[in-house]
């Protein structure tokens, strides 16, 4: 009886611990089909939490698309890129046919065959040869094939709260232009308003993303250009970390809570709890449609750059990828949709005006600064086409818009980007949570770990 019970409980213990396994392996297989000569695709529509007007606008755009593409049925669905759910959604067939992934994830997903090779459909587009080569490169796998249509190209900017600037006695029309000024302004905001003067993302790889941005602005690099050598242990990163350390521990201008990533930092900024933070230049769209920010309080400045020829702005974007499970017809339809919904308006006057009119009818943001998908001339033309419809406070973004084209734009680290960002998360977290963090040794450790990752690829 006794032995029996021992075995019983041991078995129970085994089962209890095995339960953790079971979540990993539940998936079904079935395929979306096309019927009656029509092909049906689901597409990334709106983010969780978006307001009804945003949802209605996407649906309206889908209707406009279907009017001109009678063979395609487009169903927009709520979706947001998260690595956590991606693979299981793909396996479980709940992934939209067309969705956006960050530039940095395309190569990994392509390597794991989780997104479809759509080279032939992209190359058939009228502007296929006109892409900015850096932008198109981000949509290519290591095999040189194209895995989606690039869009939403951004440069990182410094977003600031004009109301907090005013409360702190700073001029909201002259945002900081050097990092020393950022530090001084942050301190003044923290001292007078009690809110965090400057905050930087730290969690879920956004810490690495933003530390890389800061490093670029100070003239450093995280990897060699060919992605074979880790260069994390560089003076730019060390200077950036020291600045963060001093702002956090000497000035106490970064607030006491440091665990921010993209969504929470947007929420906190829109709620007026943050003076300044770095993020993509187009984050104003999310701040309005998801976080209902008061546009009057919003300001966008160009990122201050160190006085070095190497200093530059980190640029990135999204790739409109297609589910690996899509049929060839669905792949073609998905690229046609991405072309219609996200890219044509950057190339074709009629499309640009139609898009702007549709957005403005629903009070959605028009004219948020992005970076050129093609060349600078095309970009400037599109800005003229939509000029009458712009409803975002462009005057409050002039510091960014006026300077972005004179600044050196640098792509994200080419190899194992997200893995390296993950390593850097820890480094930023350590500096912001431990006053005695040893920055040189943190950097040399992270460097050697990153080198191991690069060597393994």
């Amino acid at each position: 009886m006794r032995i029996h019970r021992v075995r019983g409980v041991a078995a129970l213990a085994t089962v209890a611990s095995l339960v953790s396994l079971s979540t990993l392996a539940a998936c079904s297989k079935s395929d979306e089909t096309s019927s009656g000569g029509k092909v049906t695709i689901t597409v990334e529509g709106w983010r969780p939490g978006d307001e009804q007007a945003t949802i209605d606008t996407v649906k309206k755009q889908a209707q406009l698309f279907m009017d001109t593409h009678p063979d395609i049925i487009v169903k927009p669905v709520e979706w947001q890129w998260t690595a956590e759910t991606f693979a299981t959604q793909l396996a479980g067939n709940t992934l939209p046919t067309s969705f956006r992934v960050p530039f940095t994830d395309t190569k990994g997903l392509a390597e794991r065959k989780q997104i479809a090779d759509v080279t032939q459909y992209v190359e058939a587009l009228p502007y296929a040869t006109d892409f900015n080569p850096d932008v198109l490169a981000a949509a290519k796998g290591t095999d040189g094939k194209i895995y989606g249509l690039p869009s939403d190209v951004y440069g990182v900017g410094l977003h600031y709260n004009r109301a907090l600037f005013e409360q702190a006695g700073l001029d909201p029309d002259s945002p900081p232009t050097t990092w020393d000024e950022v530090r001084a302004d942050a301190k003044q905001i923290a001292d007078t308003t009690g809110q965090a003067g400057y905050v930087q993302m730290t969690v879920n790889n956004t810490g690495g993303w933003m530390l890389t941005t800061l490093t670029y602005a100070l003239g450093g690099r995280m990897e060699s250009e060919d992605g074979t050598e880790a260069t994390i242990d560089n003076p730019g990163t060390a200077e950036g970390l020291q600045m963060l350390h001093d702002m956090r521990w000497t000035d106490d201008s970064m607030g006491k809570n440091t665990g921010y990533e993209w969504t929470p930092i947007n929420e906190a900024f829109a709620a007026g709890k943050i003076g300044m933070y770095m993020s993509g230049s187009d984050v104003f769209n999310a701040l309005t449609t998801t976080n209902q920010i008061d546009p009057d309080t919003y300001g966008l400045a160009a990122l201050p750059l160190a006085d070095s020829p190497e200093a530059g702005i980190l640029g990135g974007g999204s790739v409109n990828a297609v589910s690996a499970k899509a049929t060839p017809d669905q792949q073609e339809a998905a690229i046609a949709w991405a072309d219609f919904y996200r890219v044509q308006k950057l190339y074709n006057e009629d499309a640009a005006i139609l898009d702007a009119k549709t957005l403005i009818a629903a009070d959605q943001p028009v004219g948020t600064p992005t970076l050129p998908e093609f060349d600078e001339a095309t970009y400037k033309k599109t800005q003229q086409w939509i000029a009458p419809y712009v409803n975002v406070p462009l005057a409050q973004m002039s510091s960014f818009v006026d300077r972005i084209f004179s600044q050196h734009l640098i792509s994200e680290p080419p190899s194992k980007t997200q893995e390296v960002y993950g390593l850097l998360d820890s480094v930023v977290q350590k500096v912001l949570t431990d006053e005695n963090a040893d920055i040189p040794s943190l950097l040399s450790d992270a460097d050697s770990q990153a080198q191991k990752l690069l060597d393994a690829s």
Binding site: S20, C27, A83, A91, V203, Q418, G422
Partner: protein
Amino acid sequence: MKTPATARLPLPTRIRGSAGSVVFLLPMLLVFGLFSWWPIVRSMIMSVQMTNLVTPAEFVGLDNFRAVLDDPLLGTAIQNTAWFALLALVFGYPVPLLMAVVMSDVRRARGLYALLAYLPVVVPPAVAVLLWRFFYDASDTGVFNTILGWVGLGPVPWLESSTMAMPSLVIEATWAAAGGTVIIYLAALVSVPPELYDAAEVDGAGILRKVWHVTMPHLRGIMLITLILQIIGTAQVFLEPYLFTDGGPDNATLTVLLLVYNYAFANTTGGDYGKATALSLMLALTLAVLSAVYFRATRRWSE
């Protein structure tokens, strides 16, 4: 199923019949088989494969296990998990026992206290963590820091320091889980014959001596079970580090199960189901061996 012959038999006899039991067992077997055992088997298979869940999987032998053992984060995760388990043992294990002993001594409204103790268990864990994140706000205006401020203490960087983060998680986890264990102890305490207490009282024993000489011997079996269940539970801690800190700051709360999750789903290493299942399997085996050793070692005491 219901033939005239079986219908005439008394109910227990019918259930004892093998065909009948299978029919009764069938739904349970199906549900467990489909949602528990089959995934476990699949995981075992996946641990020796490289798969993206879409294209056919590739057999890679023990590569996944080797890769996991080579990961410098594995050591960190094991240390952190052990630290969590130890802290949970020190804080979390005696608390419910104490509460149960005190509550069982209360004459009136014992049900009310049991209800209050059990309430946190009813709160959905994710909600509880979000609530506690609010409590743990590191600024001077955070809930706990405000309270500490009244007595001139703090502010404490609850989740914002490598040394404080883990104890903070343990405090919340103890709060959340104690109620369940209290109920188990309370039930066990009821089974202690009251005459023994009366006899002890006649012999001049105070409350502490009564607890030590009467209550404890009766609870020993239950305590050994709850101890191993707690060890297994804490070895698998995931929810708190995932929702509170995402393993940070600087991997100070990265636990084994969070590492499993990161292998499979997170940005950093995501999509590596082989490594994830390999580490899960190693954890499961370790816990099974640990449980077996534990029960063998404590066999004498639980008799």
